[in-house]
Assembly symmetry: C2
Homo-oligomer: 220 residues x 2
DNA sequence: CGCGCTATTTTGATTAGTCAAAATAAATCT
DNA sequence: AGATTTATTTTGACTAATCAAAATAGCGCG
């Protein structure tokens, strides 16, 4: 059985390889896991010995099919747990990430499947992050962000890709959660500012950086 | 923060000191935790340095008030998790112990309290084990067992004190769960046998050893 | 081509938790 | 009391995971 440390390494490699060509540099991995680079190198070599990753010295690391399977299961547990905590226990979506970080390693497959059924087999978690299916399929559709989408068209928020408590709290406050409707009224590249118009209420000003962390799709 | 190892040591010391004069011998602790005696000695000395236990060399170990508080919280988590798994996720009462053994270390106090509320502040878990209150109070009433109670009187099962899957499966099969009504029709010390009569259906024969693991109270 | 910057790897130590086996203390039995 | 058995403690060694700091490999650049 993989230790929680191993599970975390694999999960982070999976997440980081989404935003790259598949090869994750050691530095990025170390930063993401909050360890020093030497530690990541050592661990990755051990994971390679176990057949969970392939290590290209001085270039980076990628998951093997077996490692990917483990990582997907951990991610599935993480996101289903978050969904449970928000939908059933009514916890704040800003605090569930830290909880799930621990619980993802403590949940058996039996509990996982019961939770999945209880929640009605959801495909996204409270932040809009896709939940891998039992078979390891995960929606990887590419969405526009509030920083890149067309102006003045009806939009629907599909995902908030910043897990930090502060950002989530701010988003919550302004009704910026998955499913919410809005338009981007204008964008000022020079000032780095975006103005949003929700269906009702005041316009919402947002930095371009923040806008880039909210994914949207065209919506009625 | 206490590691899961530390939490397990404290919880086992708590449980073992219920069935003794409060001083738990190293041998018993080691057996209970499935480690070799030297390991228990080493760990207990470390726990003593942290002020969580008091160690009487060559005699045994007891919890300090701080250690007891930690142990009670872990036990509360364990039993509330078991209750959740059975009552909400509809898992089998024979399998939840192993699950809770892991989850008890991964649940935050925030989740603990939400679970408690969701379940309606239960005072016993699916096996009838008492759940310590948020303040660390735990019912410690002493009950008779099916091996020691009076004959031919209406009884109510209050607790099944054998966590093994086999025993719980057997008990389930025969309706021997907390809340169930029955009588002890006779007891044969020589043969080591007890005969139970449920309200309906066939009499149930049971060994004295097994009978001693089912706690009962006089019941309508 | 050679120099220097940066990312990575290596080396040597450390911590938590464990076991095997030897040493010791305590209890029990002649 | 002295010898024997049993429980506990000590010692030495090991594994997983980590860090600090030194060594190295690649690069980009003049
Ligand atoms: Mn984690
Ligand atoms: Mn999420
Ligand atoms: Mn445990
Ligand atoms: Mn129980």
């Amino acid at each position: 059985m993989a230790s929680s440390t191993v599970e975390n390494y694999l999960k982070h490699i999976l997440l980081l390889s989404e935003t790259a060509d598949g090869l994750v540099p050691m530095g990025a991995l170390a930063t993401s896991l909050d360890v020093v680079p030497g530690t990541a190198t050592t661990m990755v070599k051990a994971l390679a010995d176990e057949g969970l990753v392939a290590h290209r010295p001085r270039q980076g690391v990628r998951l093997t099919p077996e490692g990917r399977q483990v990582a997907l299961t951990v991610l599935r547990k993480h996101r289903l747990v978050e969904t449970f905590l928000v939908n059933v226990l009514k916890m704040d979506w800003a605090e569930v990430h830290a909880e799930a970080e621990q619980l993802e390693h403590a949940i058996s497959d039996a509990v996982l499947n019961r939770l999945d059924a209880l929640l009605g087999h959801p495909t996204t978690d409270p932040h809009g992050d896709p939940i891998p299916s039992r078979l390891g399929k995960m929606d990887s559709q590419v969405y526009a962000t509030l920083a890149t989408c067309v102006l003045d068209r009806p939009l629907r928020i599909v995902r908030v890709t910043d897990q930090s408590e502060e950002f989530l709290q701010f988003a919550e406050q302004n009704g910026l959660r998955p499913g919410a409707r809005l338009r981007v009224v204008d964008r000022n590249l020079a000032a780095g500012l975006v103005n949003l118009r929700p269906p009702t209420g005041d316009p919402i000003p947002l930095s371009l950086a923040a806008a880039g962390r909210i994914l949207v799709a065209p919506g009625k």
